[in-house]
């Protein structure tokens, strides 16, 4: 693996080169997509590129809080826990073209826990899918930024809001890619509480039945769901064994250690013959002391004082 700032484009070339004729052109297309990142990243080492990600994530954390405070409602907890992973995906692991959000060759990211869309919107804006200024229209009438992720937003692949549906959608994307001989990857982000939904297990069973190794699930294992801790609402452990028994390769990582996140996602994306799940140990509300591990901030906006304190902590 080349130690380069370019991420996926160089990280998994062998797989593409296997695909034979036309590869050069695919590589160039990808490069074009990737190059919409600051050009200097082309000349960075992998380590240096990854080192930039926490700063981007921090900025997105601030934007998450601004959006939710401005809207007066929304879901900070799960947005803050997922944001390091989203940053790694959109700024390092995934092949996307912000100027052409529907580019056929793009990797797909599906936010199954669609209530955590502030995290996704902040990331998409940072990556250039739409102006950062738009974030402040979140949840307001006539906005493209709905309270739960919806396809009207550039870069959003799936309309959600009802938990448990994203992995099935991802199976559909992965099967389609295989049918069309396309080599893009499909990443689906699930909440841990969301794994209570049986549809997740239907989808998991079908993904391994069809051997979808172009599909990666990520569980934001922040140990809190809507009201309370997952252990109190519905015990999930042993979670990795569940996925394994459903035919998946399971990896566990620290979801806030950017090196581990990138490494884990890249490893998961190269598993052969079966789908892979990354169980990311995270902290709900991560980055804001009084939101961390606090079920009260699953779905509540901070008040003015809390908002200022939070921004100060993230300065």
């Amino acid at each position: 693996m080349l130690d380069s700032g370019l991420g996926r484009c160089y990280n998994a070339p062998s797989r593409r080169i296997e695909r034979g004729a036309g590869d050069d052109c695919i590589v160039i297309t990808e490069l074009a997509g990737i190059l919409r990142l600051p050009l200097r990243r082309l000349f960075m080492t992998r380590g240096a590129a990854i080192a930039e990600l926490p700063g981007i994530a921090r900025e997105s954390r601030r934007n998450i809080l601004k959006m939710i405070f401005e809207a007066g409602s929304g879901h900070p907890g799960g947005s803050l826990s997922e944001i390091d992973i989203l940053t790694a995906l959109y700024f390092r692991v995934m092949r996307v073209d912000p100027r052409n959000p529907r580019w056929e060759g793009r990797d797909r990211f599906i936010l199954s826990k669609a209530h955590a869309c502030p995290g996704l919107y902040a990331t998409l804006a940072a990556r250039g899918f739409f102006p950062v200024a738009d974030l402040l229209t979140f949840r307001k009438i006539n906005s493209r930024l709905q309270g739960h992720a919806h396809v009207m937003t550039p870069g959003v692949e799936m309309s959600g809001g009802s938990l448990g549906q994203g992995l099935s959608f991802g199976v559909g994307c992965a099967l389609s890619a295989r049918l069309d001989g396309l080599d893009h990857r499909v990443f689906v982000m699930l909440g841990d509480g969301e794994c209570d939904e049986g549809q997740v297990w239907e989808a998991a069973m079908s993904a391994s039945h069809y051997g979808l190794d172009n599909l990666v699930a990520i569980v934001d294992r922040n140990r809190i769901q809507n009201d309370r801790f997952t252990d109190d609402v519905m015990k999930l452990e042993p979670l990795a064994q569940k996925w394994e028994a459903f035919g998946w390769k399971a990896l566990e990582i620290d979801g806030h250690d950017m090196e581990a996140v990138v490494e884990g996602l890249e490893t998961a994306a190269t598993v052969q013959g079966q789908p892979a799940v990354v169980i990311a140990r995270t902290v709900k509300g991560k980055g804001v002391s009084f939101m961390e591990n606090n079920p009260a901030f699953h779905g509540a906006a901070p008040n003015e004082e809390e908002f200022q304190n939070a921004l100060a902590e993230l300065a």
Partner: protein, 315 residues
């Protein structure tokens, strides 16, 4: 007029009433799906921890468990949001509860577009259509907190399956504490002779507001509160149609399968008169509830326009 009324959230009144019911009847058990603070059943859980069961977001299972408990002599109340209580587990409610006519009480909150900022996935605007598609189910959409309590009390003592539809925000309280709720009997809240406004839920207040405005313009409207959608009080509707010669229905639900659709059948079968329907025509979006009401044409001015159309058509 209705603007000056005190406001109470129907869901909060429900949560308190449920605690009282729990004290009165030890067979009452409550099942939740990780939305127990939002639905206010956490009050019951606090007082009766042994009779409260959380299943996380796994609505299919919740309904099946409730069916098993009803078959075991319990009086299970299931509470979640209307979209998760009616849309997600429709099949379980149909086969598991309606077909064997089991006494499960489904009390859903966050119905309709008053759920505002959460957006279209969270707007339960087809729940009445679905609930009325379940033969044997009693379906009640209370117009305010007092009626909500009465409906929930009726649910507890009426055998068989029951659906009650509640809202997130505080809404005007029109009824005094000594209001006598009669299940299955439409309530003529205002007499009138030129046209009938038939409304359900929170739109009863809008209907009254409209009737007030029209009185000052010399139009006398009868206002009927159809709190019980199923079984439907056909007599009160047919009589109103015959006596006033024109009907306007008002609901914040899709035009298909809700109040207007049910009233239309009665008119056709018993008293064909001009009908205008104020209802939603499609999916909505995130936004402040008051702005949504305006944008999606459910405001008093829309009801008034419908009354004028009916008056025009009568002549």
């Amino acid at each position: 007029m209705t603007q000056s009324l005190p406001k109470v959230a129907t869901r909060e009144a429900y949560g308190q009433a449920l605690v009282e019911l729990g004290r009165e009847n030890p067979d009452i058990v409550v099942l939740g799906g990780d939305l127990n603070k939002s639905t206010f059943v956490h009050l019951f859980a606090a007082e009766f921890p042994d009779r409260f069961f959380d299943f996380g977001p796994a609505e299919q299972n919740i309904m099946g468990v409730a069916a098993g408990m009803a078959a075991s002599g319990k009086v299970p109340f299931v509470s979640t949001f209307s979209v998760f209580g009616m849309c997600r587990p429709f099949d379980q409610v149909r086969v598991g509860i309606a077909q064997p006519h089991l006494g499960v009480k489904i009390v859903c909150t966050h119905a309709g577009i008053l759920t505002g900022e959460d957006g279209m996935s969270a707007h339960g605007i087809e729940d009445l259509s679905l609930a009325c598609s379940l033969p044997g189910f009693t379906v009640v959409a209370p117009s305010d907190a007092v009626e909500a309590v009465a409906a929930v009390r009726a649910a507890a003592k009426t055998p068989g399956p029951f659906y009650v539809r509640l809202y997130r925000p505080a809404t005007p309280v029109m009824h005094s504490e000594d209001y006598e709720f009669r299940l299955g009997v439409g309530d003529v809240v205002r007499q009138g002779k030129d046209a009938s406004i038939i409304a359900t839920g929170v739109m009863v207040a809008t209907a009254l507001e409209t009737a007030d405005a029209l009185t000052s313009r010399g139009v006398s409207c009868r206002v009927i509160n159809i709190h019980t959608l199923s079984p439907l009080d056909e007599d009160v509707i047919a009589t109103a149609a015959q006596e006033t010669g024109g009907v306007v229905t008002v609901e914040e639900h899709l035009s298909h399968g809700g109040l207007g659709s049910r009233v239309a059948q009665v008119l056709g079968r018993k008293a064909p008169v001009p009908l205008e329907m104020v209802a939603l025509q499609g999916y909505t979006e995130s936004g402040d509830p008051a702005l949504l009401i305006k944008k999606y044409h459910l405001a008093a001015e829309d009801v008034e326009a419908a009354v004028w159309r009916v008056l025009e058509r009568k002549s």
